[in-house]
Every structure is written in structure tokens, then in C-alpha cells.
């Protein structure tokens, strides 16, 4: 094993899926993994690390770990990450690696969607959806279930449509009732699915993309980017070419691995960490009417960290609770 060869692990723990990559010092991807989070981020990450280890087939020295996604704090604490970054920055950094000239990133994931505007290699504007999951992956998959079509085939159905139905897209509830109505009126499934793809794109552009300067090259990422129907709708409605690349779903993980590489800190990451027992435990503080929900992260019975508190009382209570 060459001692100079340093490697970096990037983990992107989303609401629906968990992604992991290992890159070398030249940012080449040498291992990757993509699994469902299934409501258990700790376990999902353990499995991802297991998979990464297997696909490597050899021992490598990992000196940096980065985490992103909605469980970044939790996983970052457990795996002693060198970098914990929000998903907006991570996606931008990852994408810039593959598309240095990118101007616009569309990202639609399981429960959120975002747009990132880049000028001259730096993020200049961004937005994320608020309050509502309309037009995200979970909406698509619930509608796929209603139509009894595997979500993977959704795109092909959409492409076969000649005349997409018009589906109200502002809100999941409206879209759903409109969709039911169109089904009962006798629209074909192909037209409805194509209409749904259009409505997702319109909803995205009118909410998240509102007021943003959308310029080419455009890169489309996130789980929904694998849906060819939505991709075609994007191209049709923005009247521009939209790029989807094979690493689209891994961009956050790659970005945060690159950030881990750029950081000054170095750690000695041990793959065996996946065999340790981590758990979380929550309680309501009760120190004042705020009643903060405190989450404690534990390794065995040792407390690693606690959060959710608005003031010091909650932290002290958490520490006292798990004092040896």
C-alpha cells in the first residue's frame, strides 16, 4: 500500500436514499454506493460503508470524511466527519467538478427540490422549496402507485404520449384531484403521465425557479432526473438542452468528498467503525415551556453529542442523563 495515496469518503444521507463515494486525491471515483435510507440513516450509512469496502477489494487509507444531506449532523457526529456541509454547497462543488462551465443546476430529490445558479464557477443564487413536497420524487412515486405503474417505467409512458393532459400543478392536493378527474374523463395513462411530468416542471419553474436567471448549460440532478419524462418536459418548457449525467445522483456525495479533501483536517478513518453500536435517544427537556426535543447520539452508553436545545439547560440535562 502506497503511503502517499490518500482517499476521501463522501456521504450524502437524504430523506429517501443514502449515497456514498470514495475518491482519490485527483477526485477520481474509486468506489460508489447507493441505497435506500428506509428511515434509518445510521444503518443505511453502515450498509453503504460495507458496500464501499467490498467494491474496493483492497485496503485504502481514508483521511477525510464529509457528510451532507438532511442527516449530515447525525452521521457527521457519529463518523467523526472532517466536513459537514449543507447540500446546496455540496451539489454545486460536485457538479463543478464534472461541468466546470455549468450555469444552472436543477435538483429534484425525494422530498426537496432546489435550483442553484452559478456564474464563473461560484454559486451566486439558489432557492429551495418550502413547506410543500409538490413536484418532488415522493409525489411522483405516490402517483405511480395510484396508476399501478412502476415508477421506473414512468418516463417511457410519458414519451409515448402525443398530447399531454393539462394537470394543475400548484399543489399536490390539487394535482391529485385533477389527475383523478382526468382519469375518469377517459384520458389515456400515457397522456396523464406526460401531463404530470409537465406539471412538475411548471411547478418547479414557477416556485423554486421563480425570478432566477436560468442559463445554459443546465445540469439536472437528483433522483427525479433519472425520469426521462421529466427530463424531456424540462427541455421542452425551458427550450434548452438539459444535461443529465451518470453521476447525477452522487453529486452531493462527490462534492462533500472534495470538500473533505480541501479541508486542513485529517483523520484516520477505520472501516470497522461500521460494526460499532450507535443509537439515538430523544427526550423532551421540560426546563421551560419551550419543551425542546433533545436528541442524544450515543455510542454504547457514551454520549457523543446532543442537539435540539435552544439554551444550555437542555444540553446539561442531556449530559447529566447519560453520565457514567
Amino acid at each position: 500500500m502506497n503511503k502517499d495515496n490518500k482517499f476521501y469518503l463522501g456521504l450524502d444521507i437524504g430523506s429517501i436514499s443514502t449515497k456514498g463515494v470514495i475518491i482519490d486525491k485527483d477526485d477520481n471515483i474509486i468506489a460508489q454506493s447507493y441505497l435506500w435510507t428506509e428511515g434509518d440513516p445510521i444503518n443505511a450509512v453502515k450498509k453503504v460503508i460495507e458496500e464501499l469496502k467490498e467494491s474496493l477489494g483492497k485496503e485504502v487509507k481514508i483521511v477525510g470524511v464529509g457528510t451532507t444531506g438532511s442527516a449530515r449532523e447525525l452521521i457527521g457526529t457519529i463518523f467523526n466527519a472532517t466536513v459537514i456541509k449543507n447540500e446546496i454547497t455540496a451539489h454545486a462543488i460536485g457538479t463543478l467538478k464534472f461541468h466546470p462551465d455549468v450555469r444552472t443546476i436543477f435538483e429534484i430529490g425525494g422530498q426537496d427540490s432546489k435550483i442553484i445558479i452559478i456564474d464563473n464557477g461560484i454559486v451566486v443564487d439558489y432557492a429551495m422549496n418550502t413547506l410543500c413536497v409538490a413536484g418532488t420524487g415522493s409525489f411522483l412515486s405516490s402517483q405511480a402507485k395510484r396508476l399501478a405503474i412502476p415508477v421506473e417505467e414512468f418516463g417511457d409512458y410519458a414519451l409515448r404520449s402525443k398530447k399531454p393532459s393539462k394537470i394543475a400543478g400548484r399543489c399536490t392536493v390539487f394535482a391529485e384531484s385533477d389527475l383523478v378527474h382526468k382519469i375518469q374523463m377517459g384520458h389515456t395513462r400515457e397522456d396523464i403521465i406526460a401531463g404530470l411530468c409537465d406539471s412538475i416542471v411548471n411547478n418547479y419553474l414557477n416556485n423554486v425557479g421563480k425570478g432566477k436567471n436560468i442559463e445554459m448549460p443546465i445540469v439536472f440532478q437528483g433522483g427525479v432526473s433519472k425520469n426521462i419524462g421529466v427530463l424531456k418536459s424540462f427541455e421542452k418548457i425551458t427550450n434548452s438542452e438539459v444535461i443529465v449525467d451518470e453521476y447525477g445522483h452522487l453529486m452531493g456525495a462527490i462534492g462533500v468528498a472534495i470538500l473533505a479533501k480541501q479541508s486542513d483536517k485529517e483523520i484516520d478513518f477505520d472501516f470497522e467503525i461500521k460494526d460499532l453500536n450507535f443509537r439515538t435517544s430523544g427526550f423532551e427537556c421540560g426546563g421551560c415551556p419551550n419543551n425542546c426535543e433533545i436528541v442524544c447520539v450515543l455510542q454504547g452508553n457514551k454520549i457523543l453529542d446532543a442537539w435540539g436545545n435552544r439554551c444550555e439547560i437542555g444540553r446539561e440535562k442531556a449530559l447529566a442523563k447519560y453520565k457514567q
Binding site: I88, Y126, N290, N291
Partner: protein, 363 residues
Amino acid sequence: MEKENNKTKKVCFPHMGNYFIAFKEIVEPLAEIISPPPITKKTVELGTRYGPESACIPFKYNLGNYIEALDKGANFVIQAGGGCRFGYYGEVQEEILKKLGYEFEFFKFPNDYNFLTLARALQKINPKVSIVKILYSLGLAYFKIRAIDKLDDYVRLNIGFEIEKGEFEKTFKLFLKDLEKDKKILSIRRTQARYLKLLKNIKLNKPKNPIRVVILGEVYVVMEPFSNFNIEKQLGAKGVEVHRHSSLSTTIHDLFFNKRVMKEFLEKARPYLRNDTGAHGTETVGLAHHSAKAGFDGAIHIKPFGCMPEVNAMSALHRISNDYKFPIIYFSFDSQTSETGVKTRLEAFYDLLIMKKQKNEQR
């Protein structure tokens, strides 16, 4: 009715930032004060449960404050008024509280008030107190507000750079405690000067050219840190110099002492605005335009969800942001806003600013 017993009047009014100790000054000579407990999640929950769904978040905080104070024994409620929906909130809140079965008197600031008409109206709470005394207590309150804002401004600019973490907050808390005791204008000025000096003595590790961010938007969510998830503190912790114009003293100044300021804001807002947006929207656009030209790194615009004047301001802000390449992010606060979402966006905004700065410095 001759013998009105003012001892039985127990007055309450809402919280907003640290200003409670100033408001207290006005009411103290008139009647007993029942202070609502500090704003907590319970306050919002009460306000959301009993307030109309579509009312903006300051309405809900105020209503929650009232309910918590009435439960503590208050029987006299004070509400101010303003240039947007807020102007009608008093009446609606009175109605809601009555329907909930509370017995109380309701006092709303007169329309288009000035110091004298306000003092006259306040005198009705306790006619035995002379108008001169009430005017004096209004003056005391004003000076306390000014002192709070003066020190707060300094803290905001520097808290991100203190070497010993927590020193600013500790000193500021002591300041508020001492200020609360001051009963003369002169002693308020002295406390202000003494603590400003103490704050300035706190050792800083400040780069020559720090990231400078402007906070813009609706005044309640700007001024009440609980309602904006301590956005200023979060920014400070990242090492950002936080600037903000909106405070109670500037609001009072612009409304009463120098009405021309509002015209100047409209002037500054040109060519993005030609007419007044209502409430503080014009100020928002004027300040954004000014800060973009003055070379600030970015701005954060915050408002209660559905705040009409600030929504009006936003389309102008989008254009300013485009024309000057001036990053602005927008937050709407509501009882349903998730703290995590705010944190993620704020982190990303900070990354954006720092990367932009590094890129510019490389050139």
C-alpha cells in the same frame, strides 16, 4: 365612578426583543404591570390555536403573550398599531380574547398619534397622574430604547469576532439589568456610556475586511429574535458583521422626528420603486439599493409569511439583486417554519458569500 381604583388595573403588553424594559417605563406610573412570560413555543402555539390561520406571525406572538399574561392575572391589555394589517389587529385580538372568556379592558394607541395625543390617551388609564409625568415617562422610555439600540448595533457588528466566546452576551445582559433600574434620563445616558465602553473593551479578532451582511424586512420579525430563529446570532457565530437599520429607535425617529427620512428611502429606492409600498417595504428597497451600491457582501430579507408590504418590496429586490450581482436570500416566517430549513439555507448563503469573496480577492 368618582373613586376609580387604579390599584385594580393590571396592565400587560406584548414582548418584542429587549424593549419590554422600555415599555415598562411608560406604564409603571399608571398602573401595576403584569409581564407575560418570555416568548416560548407555548406562546406561538397559543397564538396559532386561537388566532386566524391567515393572520401573520406577529399577530400570533402578540395574542399568545396576551393569553399568557391574562392567565397570570392581567386585566388590561395594550396594543399599538401600524401601517399595514397590524393597524386592525388590536380590534381582532380584543374580540378573540373576549370570546375566550377573559375579562379585561383593551387599550389601543390612537390613530395618527404623536407624543401628546398618546400621553392624553394614556392618561385615561389613570387620570390622577399628570400629563407632564406621562410625557416624562415616554421620554424615559425613548431614551432607554435608544440606549438598547445603540449597544445592540455595536454587538451585532462585533459579536462574531470576540476572542472569548460569550463575553458580549454576558455584558449585554448586565447592561439590560442596570438599565432597568435607571429612573432618570441622565442615569440612562450614564449606563449607556459605561456599558458601551465595556463592550468596546472586549478583545476582538476581526479581519480587516470581514463579510458584511444587511438584514432587511418586516420590523417585528427583524426585532424579535425568537421569531427569526436568532438569525443574527447564527450569522455572528459564522464570523459575519451584521448590519441592520430597522430598530425601534429608527422607527420612532423616522415616524415622529424626521418624517423626511421616508421620502429619502423612496428616493434611494429609485428606479426600482416609484410609489410607497406601505409599512416598511419602501425602506427595505431603499436600503437594499443603497447597500448594494455601498459594497456590502449580501442581504437577508425576512418577513412574516404573507406580509403584503414586504411581498411588494420583493420584486424590486429581485431586480436589484440581478443588476448589482448582489446576493439576497429570502425567509418567510410562520408558525410552521422549520428551523432546519432556515439553518441549511443560511449555511449555504454563508458559503456563497465566502466563495465569492475568495474569488474576488484572487483577482
